[in-house]
Symmetry: C2
Subunit: 422 residues, 2 copies
């Protein structure tokens, strides 16, 4: 017969299991962050290599490839453990499909490198290929953040996701600038893309800065100007606002300024990853201690409840029942409170989901690509001077009045939706 007692302890044990799973996700995110950073460096180096027609950075490229391989091996170790482990993974279906995409993209990496070595690609194409791979890695971090069950860990993961995304925009900016300074010119579309990268970067890093400030992190971690920031502003101004002619003498300064900045951001990533580890460890230790305290109290009461017949099954004495009730009530209230806080911490992830849904709607409705749908949304937001998520929400609220058209991937489900129940 199941008892309140058994479920009270089972609840604590589940909580610990959930936290341990979260700790594993955080380790996975750390391994992803290291590979992303190595790939961003390789992308930057490959850009200089290609733009200089192989004259520069050939050695650095070889060294960086070896670095990437080490980081990849580190990630694969986590993935092997994940695939063979019997422990459940929160949000497994989405996480695993994201990992499948990462592994597919990694399988194409040797071929990409060969084509760069053979100068079969221009710098912009190589950048785009690396960026697709990195985007697939960031999507894994998104899923990990989305499956977090603890508000503090969730907040830290959301901050890390935005820091990584902001750093990725910084890496793309470095690549774009490196190409432009190396070739000595940039067109209007390039300048618009550059401004877009700066803007997106700042909005992502602001999320991280807000988090750092709220957590009382040491000053100067993120948004306050990092050294070289004045140089960066000057070089950006040259690149984005001029008539398109650029002085290639600034190539090195640009590359170094950006690299310093990206390395600073990477140091922040490392700090935040360590913070995440400490946070998980502390939570798990606390939950274990609470479980053991509860057990001790209940065992003592259980002992008192059966002093007469030591062999008989212990009846739940009135005092024990009361203790179980009070513990279960405190636990329920605490978990419910955490769950509410979690929703608040996830708000930014939900914004992203809203934007994704609106994009999907546009893609299905106008039969356009993902990229075109994103640009259309962005244009709408700029024209109306609204946030992207507000435009996305407005669009979704109109979904019902738009003529229905089956989306390719869930036609079967549409049938189910229209049927009546009962």
């Amino acid at each position: 017969m199941t008892s309140a007692f058994a479920f009270l302890l089972a609840s604590r044990q589940c909580e610990i299991a959930e936290l341990e799973q979260l700790a594993r996700s955080c380790e996975l995110v750390g391994a992803v962050a290291r590979l992303v950073h190595a790939l961003q460096r390789e992308r930057g180096i490959s850009n200089v290599f290609l733009s200089s027609r192989g004259q520069r950075f050939a050695r650095q490229r070889r060294e960086q490839q070896a670095e990437c391989e080490r980081a990849e091996a580190g990630l694969r170790q986590w993935l092997d453990a994940l695939e063979t482990s019997a422990t459940p993974v929160g949000n497994g279906s989405r996480l695993f499909s994201r990992i499948a995409l990462v592994l597919h993209a990694l399988e194409g990496l040797p071929a990409l490198r060969e084509r760069i070595t053979g100068h079969e690609l221009v710098a912009a194409e190589a950048t785009a290929a690396f960026s697709v791979l990195i985007a697939s890695l960031l999507a894994v971090v998104f899923e990990a953040a989305d499956s977090a069950t603890d508000p503090d860990v969730s907040r830290a993961l959301v901050a890390l996701l935005h820091l990584m995304q902001g750093k990725e925009f910084a890496g793309q900016e470095r690549a774009l600038g490196a190409r432009s300074f190396a070739t000595g010119h940039i067109d209007a579309a390039g300048q618009q893309q550059w401004r877009h990268l700066i803007e997106s970067q700042q909005s992502c890093l602001q999320v991280f800065a807000d988090f750092s400030q709220a957590e009382g992190a040491p000053a100067g971690v993120a948004s306050p100007p990092s050294p070289g920031s004045a140089d960066l502003a000057r070089l950006r101004h040259l690149g984005c606002t001029g008539d398109g002619a650029l002085d290639s003498a600034f190539s090195d300064a640009w590359y170094e300024t950006c690299t310093r900045r990206i390395d600073d951001l990477h140091a922040d990533e490392d700090r935040l990853a360590r913070h995440l580890r400490t946070l998980c460890e502390r939570r798990i230790a606390q939950a274990r201690e609470d479980l053991s305290d509860q057990r001790a109290v209940l065992d003592r009461l259980l002992g008192q409840a059966r002093p007469v017949e030591p062999d008989a099954p212990a009846p739940l004495g009135r005092q024990l029942g009361r203790a179980v009730f009070e513990m279960a009530q405190t636990q329920s209230r605490r978990l419910q409170d955490l769950s509410g806080e979690l929703e608040a911490a996830r708000a930014r992830l939900n914004d992203r989901k809203t934007i994704e849904r609106a994009k999907g709607l546009l893609m299905a409705h106008r039969q356009i690509s993902e990229d075109e749908a994103y640009k259309a949304l962005r244009q709408l937001a700029m024209n109306q001077n609204k946030r992207l998520v507000d435009v996305a929400e407005a669009l979704l609220s109109l979904a019902e009045v738009l003529p229905a058209r089956d989306r390719p991937f869930d036609g079967a489900q549409d049938g189910a939706k229209k049927s009546s129940f009962g």
Copy 2:
């Protein structure tokens, strides 16, 4: 070595496992709904029994108690299976702590019945005791709805939760009216409570009605007037708006009208529970079929990829790699889209979490009880003519400027929050 192929299939398998778990949660909710209904009847019958000083409904009470015991045994069977099963439970920590509270409340039921038999309680006290037990059961349904991973199932569970909650308000209204008509009078506080029960009931049933309409359910399920509704309106008017003197001749009519209405709502519950079962079965069958289709395509390509050396490990041919990539991409997009839809389906649950958080804040800040905090929020909402959730949100947004005070249950966590990272 882990491959994209392996993770693609693992993603599908996880999806199936998540759906199977959801199907089990829905069965649990069905068992909870049956016990709630039996207890609501017993509460109603006990009210008449107590108000008539044991003259009426003694036989019905015995029969209904047997009915409750059968329903309780049905629920305990599910709980036993849940406790001993090795399969993971989504949201286990919260669900289990809720179940612990239910089991504790059930342990007190025999004593409650004895006190009713011995007329040691007045009707209002007995009603309150049953209502606490039923509230603990509804909290289990809330957690089940909160852990749903499929948007259609989530929508149906949210509708069922509101239908059950609305029916519970209807049950409390029946009890209040039964007491009032039986004793022949009602005071102003009782009338206010009555109006509050009607209002809360309607807003819950509206959620269910919206869902039924969206799903194209047969007309007349919920919000449209059920037979006896004109009688109900007339009797409500007598009870809520007069000078407090009531004609006890209406006792039977009141009890029967309400009971008919509650039984109608229970029929809706049954239909919705069946709909949920069908929905889960259909989803699982579809996911299994998709998995087997994917496997067939990939096995065929895998066969084509190794015609030369049948014993060598199969290399992932270019065509196979492409197929894996396309499947993983479709799957990711579909799952992401579902996840966005899920957030939308959960919006009403999140409203409730917001209200819970605001309540918790008030309780901690003003050192008041849960009930007092709820009443304070409600009063604020009425004074400002705003929705409860909007007042709750406004309050939470002010949390930072309110003087900090450690909540009793997470003092340890507050320490962590204030610490810096790195």
